[in-house]
């Protein structure tokens, strides 16, 4: 592993100041000399593999602001501090009651050990697990811009069928983000230009021609909180994750679904898809199809078809289109049948 300097700033402004000192405006957070570290389950791993090469780590765990570690439930919704651990949020009573889709997305992620140390902000910002990205001897446009994409014609079973480009088809693997995008969450960030709010759907960038640009954040910007607006009918919501084994695996396909039902008729629906796209993926077209419809296998199937109308298969991942559709159908029907 490359040697690095390790610092423990004591509050948010100190952390931001350090970051802006050692980064420039054009730096991508994942490529900057100075990078934030929270639980380290993603970043430290990639440093050991030589994928991330910061020479200065700014540890956020000593930041004194307590709200970074708190979950606050109000009439307006729920606000997660950036350093809240995945496990804590997954087990939170109000989260489980009001937003089963959030609790489910966290509970089905990673392992108990990782959930106990990984932070929510770090989770949202986790980088792809593309095998060719993780091992530095392969060509990878995301890791080394312009070097090519070994996955495109290589072994790409786990790769994305939605949101890919000719430069990169790496999947965004996080689960929690699917619940957040479905529920119109908002990111609170603070950088040297001050504090700002970013709609969750704007946080991640599709690869396009610049797969190395992964998010909208500046290198000196810290996520401080994740806010989810109140949505009373989100009590009828769930996260369905299909994977190769029963636990401790990333999704082959997943669906975050919340339904507002009038009897069996859909007043409103929120749908996001995981394991299938290059970024957290809101399936707006599928939501529209369901609007005002009776929810049954046929309408769920029509919604699923709409969600994948633009899907692009590659050599080993074509099955994900069919699997994604079925995952969504099943999730919709299971959400309909929830007792709330």
């Amino acid at each position: 592993m490359r040697p690095f300097i390790y610092e423990q700033p004591s509050d948010i402004s100190a952390a931001v100041a350090l970051a802006s000192n050692f980064t420039t405006r054009d730096d991508q957070p994942t490529r900057a000399n100075a990078q934030f570290i929270a639980g380290g389950t993603n970043l430290a791993d990639y440093m050991k593999l030589g994928v991330a090469e910061p020479n200065r780590l700014l540890d956020l765990n000593r930041l004194e602001e307590q709200k970074l570690r708190q979950i606050r439930v109000t009439g307006d919704g729920i606000r997660f501090g950036a350093l809240v651990r995945m496990g804590e949020a997954a087990d939170h009573r109000e989260v489980k009651k009001r937003y089963p889709v959030i609790a489910g997305s966290l509970r089905l992620a990673a392992s108990g050990q990782i959930r106990n140390v990984a932070s929510l902000a770090g989770n949202v910002l986790q980088r792809t697990r593309c095998e060719y990205f993780r091992e530095t001897s392969w060509a990878c446009n995301k890791r080394v811009p312009g070097s090519g994409c070994a996955a495109m014609d290589g072994f790409n079973r786990q790769h994305a069928v939605l949101g890919g480009s000719n430069a990169c088809i790496a999947t965004y693997h996080g689960d929690f983000a699917q619940a957040l995008i479905a529920l119109d969450a908002v990111i609170h960030a603070q950088g040297s230009d001050g504090a700002r709010q970013i709609p969750f759907a704007k946080l991640h960038r599709q690869p396009g021609d610049t797969p190395h640009i992964e998010t909208d954040l500046a290198a000196d910007e810290i996520i401080t909180a994740i806010e989810v607006p109140a949505l009373p009918w989100a009590r009828r919501s769930l996260y369905l994750k299909i994977r190769d084994r029963e636990s401790y695996a990333f999704a082959l396909a997943s669906a975050a679904v919340a339904l507002d039902l009038d009897g069996e008729t859909v007043r409103d629906a929120r749908i996001a898809l995981g394991g299938l796209a290059t970024v957290p993926w809101r399936a707006g077209a599928a939501e529209e199809v369901l609007q005002g419809k009776k929810l049954d296998e046929a309408s769920a199937g029509a919604a699923a078809d709409a969600a994948f109308a633009e899907a692009q298969p590659h050599q080993h991942n074509a099955f994900k289109i069919e699997l994604g559709k079925r995952t969504l159908v099943r999730a919709l029907l299971e959400t309909r049948d929830m007792k709330v």
Binding site: E131, F155, D244, Y248, A249, F319, L323, T327, R330
Partner: protein
């Protein structure tokens, strides 16, 4: 009852806890890379990123600039040592630093040694190779493969077995199938990483390395380093998972030894998980064509099994499982052929039940297809084809309890409740399927030596250069001594895993319990004979008793007549503080060279299909229930039952644990495990445990192991059939059979994943 400690039935030993259980669960068991070593330097490997070509240039400047770097061992630095010789003790004939040719992805190109592990890794990462690259051949179907017949290419695979006139019988068969099956590349991925620690004491070399074969390694390493084997010592007290991967030594060992010599200080090299994929062995992908012909009543008349296996360019490694599949049932005629397909890959090697896992998977999947073709219950189909003698040499089985296994497993599983109609069983949105398959593993045994000492204080010290790879061999060897010497297990210390101990064969082929226990038995019996002779001698405590049956219990010699004497008193009367016996066991049929070969690290295997009098196998039957979601098609295994008969069971706890681990692995083989090869570059893609999937706890629900009593005195003096590799042999086929029953889809290519069931 504690399920982990099944109550012993006939011919089964007590479920004693492992003698090293507490050490292991409290972190006090020292694995080779944990052994404290003073003044240690750390090594890290640099490996190739191409699979075929030449290293034109190595740039070492950046690496040399890393603070703390001590040395780089690379081309030219190994010229004074000999290249490895491919065989049981050596994984490959490639001497990676002997020449600049690259034979496979991940081949060692240098070892960087530094003051710290981190500096060594950083330096290794900064070693830059410039290659002259050739287009590599990845696997089956890639341009550039070379196919050769396997027979005679390995001492373990002499011939393609056959019997009768297959072609005529198959042509005449009323019902037949002709199908192809495949198994993927798999890597052992033991949790303990591969490591070598080497240091020199004068002209003596000590190597700490997880090894299943300390004696073989000692001799092979001495050969490479042109040393007297007496000056080489391999130490491997505990092994954190091996599964065959730590059977043959890899070229790394000699490289680290050379580095330690150059620096004059100990060097430790722990390879990364990713590097292990290219620097160690693995199970290569296999393909099979199976033809079975039968009469309408279900009697098989014709069986043909053709296999293809990938191997490297330089080494013709063979698994060749047709010896077992060709003898499994009472086929009328048998035709087999095994081919090796050479590609630009590292040399494969033993992996738990090397021949049986892929070959029996294909056979048992075909048997299930055949049962369907016949419209017959798959258990009944096997019952009908139960042989009196094996079909190849017409020899009897020394014992064969397959039908008992089927009956007991079927009863425990509730097979009678299965609706044979495909797709008929459901539970809500879940399709339910049930399937079964046979497990078989050859019962082999090899020469082995052991030293046992009984002291006047009633302590026993048992020494044997076998290996605790997690099977519980220390415990069962101790149990054997405990039983024969009448000493409680906590008075017995068992030393293993050191080439300075009496030699034992490689811990592979499920021979250890049989071989080690036979040697321990022999040593203990020699002690008993001495004790009895002394006790019954003039003036001894049992004087007057002659040639009477006697036993040793609770520190006493107890004659059949009831007279008894304390062992302590007998030793005192003999005026000795201890009796020590060094025993060498050689199996029946051993050649005059057998013991010499044991010391040379090239032990003979006997049993299995090798003996004149009979063939020797252990059997089992496995039943699996799967559930498959009707929408998303993911496969889960809520229940699995396996019944196994393996002669004398030394310890029901460790036996169950082995079989359970095998069955779990079998589920992994069926549903999870596969190393993906990038076909363009002949490189492994999913080189870590994130993407190389094995079952986790949540995948394993209700798992039951039944130990079927069986007595077999023909196999070896201990009456033990090995079972370490039996449990995972039938599982994958049983899962495939259950998947078919649930869905009507016959999956012939492992692993079975959602994508195969969506279409």
């Amino acid at each position: 009852m504690d399920v982990a400690a099944p109550r012993p039935k006939e011919n089964q030993g007590e479920p004693l806890p492992r003698v090293d259980a507490r050490l292991k669960v409290t972190g006090q068991a020292h694995y080779p890379a944990d052994l404290p070593t003073a003044n240690l330097a750390h090594g890290a490997l640099a490996t190739s990123s191409i699979a075929r070509g030449k290293v034109a240039k190595l740039r070492l400047d950046d690496a040399r600039a890393v603070p703390g770097l001590l040395d780089i061992v690379t081309y030219g630095d190994m010229d004074k040592v000999d290249k490895p010789k491919f065989g049981n003790s050596s994984a490959t004939s490639i001497g990676p630093l002997h020449d600049r040719t690259i034979f496979h992805d991940g081949q060692i190109i240098a070892l960087a040694v530094a003051e710290t592990f981190e500096a060594a890794e950083e330096a290794a990462r900064l070693i830059r190779a410039e290659y002259e690259e050739d287009k590599p051949t990845a696997s089956f179907d890639s341009p550039g493969t070379k196919t050769v017949a396997a027979a005679g290419k390995s001492p373990m695979f002499k011939e393609d077995v056959k019997a009768g006139d297959f072609d005529a019988a198959f042509a005449a068969a009323a019902v037949k199938i002709d199908q192809r099956y495949s198994t993927p590349t798999q890597h052992h991925n033991p949790i303990e990483l591969f490591s070598t620690t080497a240091y020199w004491q004068g002209d003596q070399l000590v190597v700490h390395e997880p090894s299943q074969n300390v004696t073989g390694w000692k001799v092979e390493l001495a050969r490479q380093l042109k040393m007297d084997p007496a000056n080489v010592r391999i130490v491997s007290p505990f092994i954190g998972g091996a599964f065959g991967s730590k059977g043959p030594m890899t070229p790394r060992t000699a490289i680290v030894a050379v580095a330690a010599k150059r620096l004059g200080r100990p060097v430790r090299c722990v390879t990364s998980r990713m590097q292990a994929f290219g620097t160690q062995t693995y199970r290569a992908e296999t393909r099979h064509r199976i033809r079975i012909g039968a009469r309408k009543d279900g009697r098989i008349t014709a069986f043909a099994h053709e296999g293809w296996e990938v191997t490297s360019r330089p080494d013709l490694y063979v698994v060749g499982g047709t010896s077992a599949t060709g003898r499994m049932y009472g086929y009328g005629s048998v035709l087999t052929h095994v081919s090796l397909v050479q590609a630009d890959r590292n040399t494969p090697g033993y992996m738990r039940s090397p021949p049986e896992t892929p070959y029996v998977y294909a056979l048992e999947n075909a048997m299930d297809e055949m049962a369907v073709a016949l419209g017959m219950d798959p258990v009944e189909f096997r019952r009908i084809n139960e042989p009196k003698t094996e079909p190849i040499g017409k020899k009897p089985f020394s014992s064969r309890s397959l039908i008992q296994c089927y009956d007991q497993a079927a009863a425990a599983f509730g097979w009678a409740k299965r609706d044979p109609k495909v797709g008929a069983m459901r539970d809500g949105d879940w399709l339910v399927g049930m399937g079964c398959a046979t497990a078989i593993y050859p019962t082999a045994v090899a020469p082995c030596a052991a030293r046992v000492r009984l002291t006047v204080d009633g302590d026993v010290r048992l020494q044997c250069g076998s290996h605790e790879i997690g099977t519980g061999i220390r415990t069962v060897a101790g149990q054997m001594a405990s039983e024969r010497l009448g000493v409680a297990i906590d008075k017995i210390s068992v030393e293993m895993g050191d080439s300075s101990l009496p030699p034992a064969p490689v811990s592979g082929g499920s021979i250890s319990t049989a071989s080690v226990c036979s040697a321990v038995l022999k040593a203990c019996d020699a002690i008993r004979t001495k004790l009895y002779a002394a006790a019954t001698a003039e003036g001894g405590p049992l004087a007057g008793s002659h040639n009477e049956e006697f036993d040793l219990a609770d520190g006493k010699i107890v004659a059949k007549s009831g007279a008894s004497a304390k062992v302590e008193d007998v030793l005192k009367a003999m005026q000795v503080g201890a009796i020590e016996e060094y025993a060498e066991f050689a199996p029946k049929g051993a050649t005059p060279e057998a013991l010499k070969k044991l010391y040379a690290g090239t032990p003979e295997f006997h049993g299995g299909d090798q003996d004149e009098d009979s063939v020797k196998y252990a059997f089992g039957a496995e039943f699996v229930e799967v559930r498959i979601n009707r929408y998303t098609r993911e496969i889960r295994v809520p229940r699995i039952v396996g019944a196994f008969a393996a002669g004398r069971i030394m310890n029901t706890r460790t036996a169950r644990s082995q079989l359970m681990g095998g069955m779990i692995w079998g589920i992994g083989q069926a549903l999870h495990e596969a190393t993906e090869v990038d076909r363009r570059y002949a490189r492994y893609v999913n080189r870590d445990l994130q993407d190389y999937l094995v079952p986790v706890n949540a995948d394993i629900k209700d798992l039951q192991v039944i130990l079927v009593p069986e007595v077999d005195h023909a196999v070896n003096p201990a009456g033990v059939k090995g079972l370490g590799e039996l449990g995972n042999v039938g599982t994958a086929a049983a899962v495939a059979s259950a998947v078919y029953h649930a869905t009507g889809k016959r999956i012939r290519d492992l692993p079975i994943r959602v994508e195969q069931l969506l279409v």
